[in-house]
């Protein structure tokens, strides 16, 4: 299987074409913008928090298949998790796409992005939503 086939699978392309949890979120507790200035991709992450738990999460913006699919799957995964759990998932996700670690079982469908670790040019795309989540957690912690 070519790297291209490994990466651009049904899972990813369908999240790209029909992202989950996409759109505005009224009364968000935290909203944070993230971007990759080198490519112009932009994303806004909106969270509703309740006692340290993410009760609602949505995102909006534009980007490539990898960044949008990653954001879409991330929102599905972190919904109803605590911020701490979400940060642990972030760590696991980055280990997979940056360092090429075996996908942690907790990542579920996101293992479809494991191939990104072989495409250094695209790690920034895959991690954009997650870096924004980290920023959001920081913001939530200080506010």
């Amino acid at each position: 299987m070519s790297l291209l086939e490994e990466l651009y699978r049904e899972t990813i392309l369908s999240h790209y074409k029909s992202p989950k949890n996409f759109g505005p979120l009224a009364d968000a507790s935290v909203s944070i913008k993230g971007d990759n200035p080198s490519c112009g991709d932009q994303l806004e992450l909106l969270l509703k928090l309740n006692g340290g738990r993410i009760t609602e999460v949505r995102f909006q913006g534009h980007g490539c298949a990898i960044s949008i699919a990653s954001a879409s799957m991330m929102t599905e995964l972190v919904k109803n998790k605590t911020l701490d759990q979400a940060l642990e998932l972030t760590r696991q996700f980055k280990a997979m796409v940056v360092d090429g670690a075996e996908p942690a079982p907790e990542l579920g469908d996101l293992k479809a992005l494991a191939g990104v670790s072989k495409l250094h040019a695209r790690t920034k795309c895959a991690t954009l939503a997650w870096n924004t989540l980290e920023e959001a957690a920081k913001e939530a912690g200080t506010s």
Binding site: L7, C39, G40, A65, C125
Partner: protein, 406 residues
């Protein structure tokens, strides 16, 4: 022109990477052997600091550096005293903004740019606008990728103090009618600055004929090393201008609290210059002149016409930007269906085709096109027709691969 197939043999990177189809010369060009060897030769045999030496080695280094200045003057049809070595186009434009714009412009003055400018010709002017209250305006880009010259009369008011524009767009490939615009600007008494980052490498440039006051280029885009570029300026203008960077070599007398300045071009070259890089840039200019700038332009032109014709014919899902005709250089920004440019570029890379994806440092233009990003293929003297074919065949495979998602 000597066939691109033969010219390739001058570029060691293609031998090291025989499978690569390099279509990103607009970002930076590859380097011919003579340029790499000039660097090597400089460091192995004549390396010393310039200007200040009382010994033979330093004299030789100085002669090599000043010889490079003469070569760049010849390349641009200029006088050697008008050649200032800088790092790149970006530094050249910032030099003008700091040494001229920030000192001369006032609230109410207008700065006329175009909608197709590279960030290097936008961001420095923002600084001027913020600090002086001068206003930025832009000549619009028409649907066909050319400047809307009909708007020039209206835009070129008496308040316009400077017109700064790109000679050739790094996204659309458009070659702007700089001489015509410069003439109109001069009639209004405005200064004319030309961003030659894309024109200098690809077509004959005669700065005096252009009628501009300043012209900036990047060596790394014209077969030279990274770290060396040129700002050309009319001597009368340079003489009137205050320095930009302060330090060694640009001074006349220095006291603890004040200093007086040397004449141009030294006035604008503070500290130890990128000596080896300037020397090698001179060699690059000589190499290009040897092949002939007009030949290079024709070669780029024929490849871009060929590529656009095939794309139009065989890949209707591909949308390209920029004008068709003799005022179009060898750059093709494109999209494939609704795919994001990054995904297209990654897919092409898997077939050995190196194209760039993104806004190419031209966000306002992309905003105008209604896109966050495009993919971009660009050609140069070493690009072969065969490579254009491989690019198009690869693009077809990419279309096939993504066919359910276009």
């Amino acid at each position: 022109m000597t066939s691109a197939y033969l010219i390739r043999a001058d570029f060691p990177l293609f031998a090291a990477r025989p499978e690569l189809v390099y279509l990103d010369s607009t970002a930076t060009s590859q380097k011919p052997r003579v340029v790499i060897e000039a660097l090597e030769h400089y460091y192995r045999e004549i390396n010393a600091n310039v200007h200040r030496g009382a010994y033979d080695l330093s004299v030789q280094a100085t002669l090599a550096y000043e010889e490079a200045r003469r070569k760049m003057a010849r390349f641009l049809g200029a006088d050697e005293r008008e050649i200032i070595f800088v790092r790149n186009t970006t530094e050249a434009l910032n030099l003008l903004v700091y040494a001229w714009g920030l000192r001369v412009l006032k609230a109410g003055d207008e700065i006329l740019l175009t909608e197709m400018e590279h960030h290097a010709n936008l961001v420095p002017w923002h600084l001027v606008a913020v600090h002086t209250g001068a206003k930025i305006k832009a000549i619009p880009v028409r649907g066909d990728g050319r400047l809307d010259l009909d708007s020039l009369d209206r835009l070129l008011t008496d308040r316009v103090r400077v017109v700064s524009l790109t000679h050739m767009s790094n996204v659309l490939g458009t070659v702007n009618p700089v001489a015509q615009i410069a003439k109109a600007a001069k009639e209004k008494g405005a200064l004319v600055i030309v961003d030659g980052a894309q024109s200098a490498p690809h077509m004959p440039v005669d700065v005096t004929g252009l009628g501009a006051d300043f012209f900036a280029l990047s060596g790394h885009k014209m077969c030279g090393p990274t770290g060396a570029g040129v700002l050309w300026g009319r001597y009368e203008m340079l003489e009137k201008m205050q320095p930009f960077l302060g330090g060694g070599e640009m001074i006349n007398e220095v006291y603890l609290e004040r200093s007086s300045y040397a004449k141009p071009p030294q006035r604008f070259e503070a500290g130890t210059p990128a000596i080896a890089e300037a020397v090698a840039l001179g060699v690059a200019a000589e190499y290009l002149m040897g092949i002939g700038m007009q030949n290079i332009w024709q070669h780029d032109r024929s490849l871009v016409d060929y590529a656009l014709a095939r794309l139009d014919e065989e890949l209707p899902e591909v949308k390209t930007f920029g004008p068709r005709g003799p005022d179009r250089g060898g750059v093709i920004a494109f999209t494939l269906g609704g795919l994001h440019a990054h995904d297209v570029a990654t897919a092409l890379d898997q077939h050995g085709i190196a194209v760039r994806a993104g806004h190419h440092c031209a966000q306002p233009l992309h905003r105008k096109l209604g896109l966050a990003a495009t993919a971009r293929a660009s050609f140069y003297l070493y690009t072969t027709r065969d490579e254009v074919d491989r690019f198009i065949e690869a693009l077809k495979k990419v279309r096939e691969f993504f066919k359910d998602w276009l």
